[in-house]
Amino acid sequence: MENRPLGYDYTVAKMFMLTTIVLGIVGMLIGVILAFELAFPSINTILGSGLAEYTNFSRLRPLHTDAVIFGFTISGVFATWYYVGQRVLKVNMAESPLLMFLGKLQFWLYVVTVAAVVVSLLAGVTTSKEYAEFEWPIDLAIVVVWVLFGVNMFGLIGMRREKSLYISVWYYIATFLGIAMLYLFNNMEVPTMLATSAAGETGIGSWYHSVSMYAGTNDALVQWWYGHNAVAFGFTVPIVAMIYYFLPKESGQAIYSYKLSLLSFWGLMFVYLWAGGHHLLFSTVPDWMQTMGSIFSIVLILPSWGSAINMLLTMKGEWQQVAASPLIKFMVLGSTFYMFSTLEGPIQAIKSVNAIAHFTDWIVGHVHDGVLGWVGFMIMAALYHMAPRVFKREIYSKSLMASQFWIQTLGVVLYFTSMWIAGITQGMMWRAHDEFGNLAYSFIDTVTVLHPYYAIRGVGGLLYLIGFLMFAYNIYKTMTAGKPLEKEPANASPMGA
């Protein structure tokens, strides 16, 4: 019986693949709308002034960030875990009806939570803390979803046949622990319905409203410890998990260096959490914390580049695959964007650079070259690799995949170049003084000058969205009209099936 090749059950992986695509479209579409609202403010009332409250920039902005972080990216993390986890641990989810049930429960609860998030953010129910906007009832639901994810992860690990945990599993475990810790501490809040007035009234006002456990500078400190590391454990750690699995599998190459992966994993775990202070340079948090944030941001280049170099060297001797396969293109360019973005971040964390960059569009550009070029590319590549194996059909169109790659690459380049120029222009104009020592520009001068860059950014974002729609179409056609496969697409990977 043990000699029979293992089958895997992708029911839950398929469910999360669906939400990855749907929420990706939603999040990116809102992003494009926001970009054009900044370039052409009349778009704020695109559905008429009666609905302006719900289409206006500030109301939609948290919906964009949360849809791409907790919708697109986290769905992608779940989808890939339910695919990769079984394979590297050599267990079939169907072996445990309990885990299968919990996986489906996690999915449906996730869908309900997402719906609640969309409605509440549109209605303006928010705590205002970035990427932690949800009020306490939704926070509780998110905690349950996350615990179910953890139970499933450790359940599968407990059942494993392969005793050694593969590198990807290290990163998935770190994702689970990191987000759990950060999310819990940053969202500590007291529901206002608990208060009692002198007249003895309770449950006053809206039942879902709460106040943060932390005030002012402390709140900022906890928030950016969270905010920066939500990036770490949402946009870096699980994406590294994906590339450590999918690049060797797709290319048939073994990981270049185990020791390098060891160094970059533990290095990343140790260093990342310190760097949050770079969001608070020149603020009212103590100077030593700001300096720590700055220094550790520079140190962070080491483990980040360790992973990226390990990936690029994995392709050693096989570079012709980059030209031949659009899927490898996505992953190799993804690693390159990761290197680029993890160099740009530390540069912005240097105090003198930060004095210009902070509060400007350069930061927005930095986030997007990371998420569009690295996170987005890697998740799409992962789904492209999974689709033939999950649906047992060939990818519908490789040429569509190749055109998508170039359209999206152009989109990312337009995005970050325009935001660099916008950010540095604005940062320099804010600080410019004339020869008498007066401010050279009024604030509005520094806004109107950005118009062309905002328009270019909008076009860049639109190109990326078009590419994503091509991706969605390609996956849909693969599911429904791809050529059926007799057996799994072969690859010469030394890691086996």
């Binding site: 928010t126 007291v190 809206s206 409203h209 106040v211 932390y214 002012g216 804010w430 604030f443 509005i444």
Partner: protein
């Protein structure tokens, strides 16, 4: 050691957790008591101001406006004295923002008036030509949530000892008392009294009529909050 960890998921997870957790302990914990003390002259928000702050949050004004003046000449010239930690002692949540699509607002109460805000929120580009800020017309009809603001006052008073109905030291050596109602009805009466003072400087007849009939539109609460930022 690493090979052993990779075969023992429990200890592996513990190792990861310890590695990621202690940076937070070292960076965050020592600052807590120090940073939460108010500077002299910082007063808790009144009911109406807090309701206005919630309007600010509801519309994510912090997506485009910071409330943090950095200690640079260009910023103190433009916005006033650089921000001090203790000035945020009653800010739950903090509203520093991370992007200045519009200008900083930490001391906007020093240089903008009720009248200016009223015109500006209705049509920003009419007041500041070239502005890309959207119109916030719904704030003139939606009513501010005074009850929730009152519940918030009670919460911070009971859980975090924010000094309501107590003398708070001011810069000139005097003291001032920020009142909090003893009941929902009293809180609403206090907010309405404050709103009546603000609408004296406003022109919108519908807003004036609403306040005269005991209702408080969001814009009035928001202006109360804006005026309190000094």
């Amino acid at each position: 050691m690493f090979h052993w960890l990779e075969k023992n998921p429990f200890f592996f997870a513990v190792g990861v957790f310890v590695t990621i957790a202690f940076a937070g302990l070292i960076e965050i914990v020592p600052n807590f008591a120090e940073a939460s003390r108010p500077v002299i002259g910082t007063t808790p928000y009144s009911t109406l101001e807090l309701a206005g702050r919630n309007v600010y949050i509801k519309n994510s004004c912090n997506a485009c406006h910071s409330q943090l003046i950095r200690p640079f000449k260009s910023e103190t010239d433009r916005y006033g004295h650089y921000s001090l930690s203790g000035e945020y002692a009653f800010d739950r949540p903090f509203l520093w923002g991370s992007k200045r699509t519009g200008p900083d607002l930490h001391r906007v109460g020093n240089y903008r008036t009720t009248d200016w805000h009223e015109n500006h929120m209705k049509d920003p580009a009419a007041v500041v030509p070239g502005s890309i800020m959207p119109k916030y017309t719904w704030m003139y009809t939606n009513l501010a949530d005074i009850d929730t603001a009152f519940a918030e006052q009670l919460t911070v008073n009971q859980f975090f000892a924010v000094p309501y109905n107590k003398p708070v030291p001011m810069k000139d050596g005097s003291t001032t008392v920020v009142k909090m109602g003893g009941s929902v009805a009293e809180a609403n009466a206090l907010a309405l009294a404050e709103a009546k003072e603000i609408v004296k400087d406003m022109k919108d007849q519908d807003v004036k009529d609403a306040v005269a009939s005991g209702k408080i539109p969001e814009i009035v609460a928001l202006i109360a909050y804006m005026n309190s930022l000094k």
